[in-house]
Symmetry: C2
Subunit: 236 residues, 2 copies
């Protein structure tokens, strides 16, 4: 199966969670918009293609199937590429964790866009400072503690039992994004992230992922992305 | 299978999407916190139970399995109760739509809590007015148009092909919540919601759901819930 991944060029964004899983699996895929430009997604979003209508990128074409929503795409790909155990309990727990990661990613986005997604950060920076303060002091530690507790209940290195899954890959990406966006806040939380750090190192060292991360295909984090570094939103 | 549903008493919240699916399916379930109080959830959230650790309610116990995250619970229940077709394409599309509903519900929540979930609405009402204005004029029409387009691509009455699914039930609940929270904005959008209205009427008339909605088990919407009615956040 040759997959076609559709996502905005120029940022990692939510597409990166799918891209990392495809890379780790050694799957054959085309990053369509990087080849043909963002305009290639318009016909899907306008409903001109048959199949499932996406609300927004990322979406994946797999044969005749079109899938959108990051956790949905990952839950589809994972059993086909050994990235989740086959039991119902494991699949459900993996999806549950991925949805919790998606919730956290949404909250990260809203630290720089607390009022309106269609307005610039500069037009909502006062509100962004307030939201970011609440995020750093209340929400981020709660999510971090949760994921650490999940790892502690398993073997300490994997989110789902003793198996490497797409959730581990997403947790790596989550930590990378948080380190970029909130370096001071993450440094302050360092005593609470020991298992997540070990997991991240393990994931980043997987040969296919290490090759991808060192390649030019890994777009650097930047200020158009979901994870953004604004010093005024980090620990002060 | 006798299910145990765990969710905060006193509000519909995200738990209602699960409750409605269980009611429509005629499933045997206990609404545990309504019998025993919210404290019964503490041992799950504190990690004192085996199985999947929930980050937050709702969660469902099904035999030895514990599942959290609303779309995950629904995707688990649906094939067991005829609430989604068995094909991979249908299951994936249903989950994709449910995740998009969840995104919209999250944005509804943030209209009254744009800065911090742990602070009162009254302490963020200025920001709430701004966020709600953006929601009503930009985001809500975009989501509504999307779901109408999804219905138009099918038979006009069902989200997933010609089949009644858990997504239809959730779209009914979404419309009910939006009508409660934003009556003026929804009235203004009335020419754009004709298929969603027909779907909502069909779902509400299903015998088991009609009986549930008329019962005292259906907690009224209120100002502790996700869908809240603050006139200042509605169309002005």
């Amino acid at each position: 199966m040759r997959y076609e991944l559709f996502y905005w060029t120029g940022i990692q964004g939510r597409g990166e969670f799918v891209r990392l899983a495809l890379e780790d699996a050694g799957a054959t895929y085309v990053d369509v918009a990087r080849d043909q430009g963002d305009g290639v997604m318009t016909r899907f979003l306008a409903g001109e293609q048959p199949g499932a209508l996406p609300f927004a990128p990322p979406f994946l074409q797999a044969g005749k199937l079109v899938l959108a929503q990051t956790p949905n795409i990952l839950a589809f790909l994972a059993p086909r590429h050994g990235l989740v155990p086959s039991s119902v309990a494991s699949k459900c727990f993996a999806l549950q964790l991925q949805l919790t990661i998606a919730d956290l990613v949404g909250e990260v986005h809203d630290t720089h866009h607390p009022i309106a997604v269609d307005q610039y950060f500069e037009d909502q920076r006062i509100e962004a400072r307030k939201r970011a303060a609440s995020f750093r002091t209340q929400r981020l530690p709660k999510f971090i503690d949760y994921f650490e507790q999940v790892l502690a209940r398993g073997d300490g290195q994997h989110a789902v039992g003793r198996n490497h899954t797409y959730v581990d890959i997403s947790l790596f990406q989550l930590m990378a994004g948080l380190d970029y966006a909130f370096p001071l806040a993450m440094h302050r939380l360092r005593r609470h992230t020991s298992r997540l750090r070990l997991l991240s190192e393990r994931v980043a060292a997987r040969p296919r992922l290490a090759a991808y991360l060192a390649s030019s295909r890994r777009v650097p984090f930047n200020k158009d992305d979901i994870f953004r570094h604004y010093p005024e939103l980090d620990d002060v």
